[in-house]
Amino acid sequence: MTPKIFKRSDGRKNDEMRQISAKVGVVESADGSAMWQQGDTIAVAVVRGPRKMHPQHQQDPTTGKLRCTYSMASFSVTERIRPGMSRRATEISKIIEWALSPVLMLENFPNMVVDVYVTITQADAGTRCAGINAAALALAHAGIPMRNIVSSVALGKLDKTIVVDLTKDEEDYKEGEGSTDIPITITPKGEITHIQLDGKITGEELKQAIELAKKASKEIYEIQKKALKEIGGEK
């Protein structure tokens, strides 16, 4: 039997991401904000702070803290989802916090908190990655000291093929070994701040996936850079 050549449902190449657009400064009242669109997934991140941490018992006199809130708009998917925090939203909030905090330098903001609100207005898989990308831009826009910007990308394995940036259709892929979802967040220097894995994969394949993620994150970084540089001239 000759090996069947794998073809993605939307005709993209295996290492090709969806169309990306980014805009910084979308929310006037915020200290920093950004929108990140990747295919049919749209994330809006809003940053407020640094400001005094409330509730007060969570204040840390040695360092500032990062607090993320991820939520999906009730209209972001075809079937209405209940607004408010769910188990999934709480978990992803924490994930975003962990993905971003290694690059932030909040030591000079004792007792303060930086709030990041990520809202998914339209969802088609890869929402946490879009959220992290938007949040990274919004944090930079808010003038928070950062060591670097982080870029996030979702890798996937459909049957035996490693592909980048899954859509919802691809995430539900059932043939062969099914689909594996691997969101990864990387700095431009190649330091991984966050990696998750949901599905089955061999060590060798994972290495391959990480290499692909590094390549894709470079493209994302360039888009982030461009989005930030654009507003400098405008404001």
């Binding site: 400064g25 200290d31 920093g32 702070g49 640094p50 400001r51 005094k52 006199p61 690059v103 330098m105 004792p110 007792n111 303060m112 930079a140 826009h141 808010a142 003038g143 928070i144 000291p145 950062m146 060591r147 670097n148 910007i149 700095t187 431009p188 220097k189 982030q224 850079k225 930030l228 540089k229 507003i231 400098g232 001239g233 405008e234 404001k235």
Partner: protein
Amino acid sequence: MTERKIVIPGEVIVKGDDFLPGEGTARTDDGVVAMKFGLGEEVNKLVKVIPLSGVYQPRRGNVIIGEVEMVTHNGWIIKVSDSDSGFLSLTEVPKYVDKNEMEEIMDVGDVVVAKISGVNRRGVDLTIKLRGLGKIDEGVIMEANSNKVPRVIGREGSMIKLIKDETGCNITVGQNGLIWVKGDSIEQEIFAKEAIKFVTEKSFVSWLTEEIERWFKEKKGDKR
């Protein structure tokens, strides 16, 4: 003037070891790297980043304009920014204050020009013991982004002096972004407000002082 360019966190501003990392930057193996989003600048081997956005960070010596939020038994709490409040102690007021009638001096809602005498872990300490500081009784207050304040003041105060001379208003710029305009008539105050608005909206233009001079000429031409 040296060339300024927009830098993003993690971006190398200058390569090599001959430069000194200033505010918003750090030295790494690659050279001096930006730690903040803003305008990267290099003057006399000192590299720094001028922020373009973000919240106001109180610093000692800054003159700010703020509203009284609360009157306590030994002083006033004054709003410095959305995230910070400052404390103006009774002893920092240059006249006799009756402790039972502190509202007579300054009440909640009054606006004060104050100087930051210190920033510590507990908060911001304020004083009004110097000339030009104290409660505001007349004129108008306008809000601007605190990051635009340096542009409104201009190099060595050139911009603010120009606006003052052209409009005949007295203007006090708080580092926290609040601006107090006091003129002889409301028309003058509105004119000065317009001029400041023009500056904040065009804050990225390189030859802003020349630009605003032209703007004044046009405006004055209209009036005749």
